[in-house]
Symmetry: C2
Subunit: 200 residues, 2 copies
DNA sequence: GTCTATACACCGATAGAC
DNA sequence: GTCTATCGGTGTATAGAC
């Protein structure tokens, strides 16, 4: 039986809307628990229409994660490029504050990037992992330079890099804008701890 | 059509087997992506038999998480009770090494405890959260005592507590027994960083 | 580009035999 | 306590009209 068309936006902005809806739902409930029908409902289209924008559900997840990681890496590199010849300690402070700020600004994307890695197919996983390692390397280079300059004392460079990132990223699991501390105060607290953790 | 019985263990150990299978599968693929049929297949029973042991799928997840958190808390308290009158620095070292050891020994349970909180119903979530806060308090008490004694300098006690736990728990995301570092070496590296992060 | 409709598979949970 | 069988629902993805 043929039915009259009941809705449908024919909008050229459907693509971004799908991405936004998927990001919000994936972060809230998890990739596996969200259906294409739920994403479509949030956008205001039927489920079949989503396949004009993504070959499948998993590719939608991958696009979100890749965009997030590329944004993270390029934002970091842009900030690093703007500064030249600063000491290792200032570079570390810049990295720590950047990391906190960037992550607190994007709670949904951050959550997905950390929780949904196992839902990527192998080639997609590899691409995300490459981006993650490149970002990690940014911090590793700072720590390495600080050790060479005698500013830092670090037992194992790789472990220290991951430890600092884990500590900083942890802020996303508890920070709330309506809590007792402002973002600037949180940045300060973490920066002091990071600084001391690699100090002489 | 009635069929002949084809398998079924009638084993009294089915309960533990179900828990083990669920833990392994939930950790690998995520709670929402695992079906009761898959768990049953790994145990060697039919899906319906699982409901002799759990009222529903979500209660199975909760039991795993509660057991893990209770084990974590009681193991920590048992170790703390065995020691009296040690300084804050030694207490912190003990906590750091305990945390790393306990978490590296239970990668599946740890992964589930951190990733699947959102799949708990509200009353179950509250119970797990209470246990998590009690464990966090163990570290907070150590840090607090160290500040009072003048051993530590900490800007914000709550943030520092969460930062140290996040740093230590991070070891589970990369450590591999066949890697370059032994568990003892990893403990040392993290302990040195934790110690300095709260130092004067 | 979106719709309606549907193919085909799988889901959690339950009923009742043994 | 486990089985077989099934209920009612939902899943991803696709086909074809407009």
């Amino acid at each position: 039986m043929r039915m009259a068309r009941t809705q449908g936006s024919h909008s050229s902005s459907t693509g971004p809307k799908i991405r936004a809806a998927a990001q919000s739902l994936f972060a809230q409930r998890g990739f596996a628990a969200v259906s294409m029908r739920q994403i479509a409902a949030q956008v205001g289209v039927q489920a079949g229409a989503l396949y004009n924008y993504t070959p499948d559900k998993q590719a939608l997840l991958f696009d979100l994660m890749r965009q997030h990681m590329e944004e993270l890496l390029s934002a970091r590199r842009a900030e690093a490029l703007a500064i030249v010849n600063e000491g290792a300690s200032h570079a570390l402070e810049r990295f720590a504050r950047f990391h906190i700020r960037f992550h607190l600004d994007r709670p949904d994307a951050v959550f997905i990037a950390y929780m949904e890695l196992r839902n990527l197919t192998e080639p997609h996983f590899e691409q995300i992992e490459t981006l993650r390692r490149a970002y990690e390397q940014e911090l590793k280079d700072i720590l390495s330079a600080g050790v060479k300059a005698g500013d830092f004392v670090i037992t194992d460079l790789g472990v220290a890099t991951r430890a600092v990132i884990a500590m900083l990223t942890g802020v996303t699991t508890w920070y709330n804008d309506s809590g007792a501390l402002s973002r600037a105060e949180v940045e300060d607290v973490y920066w002091h701890m990071v600084r001391k953790s690699v100090a002489r």
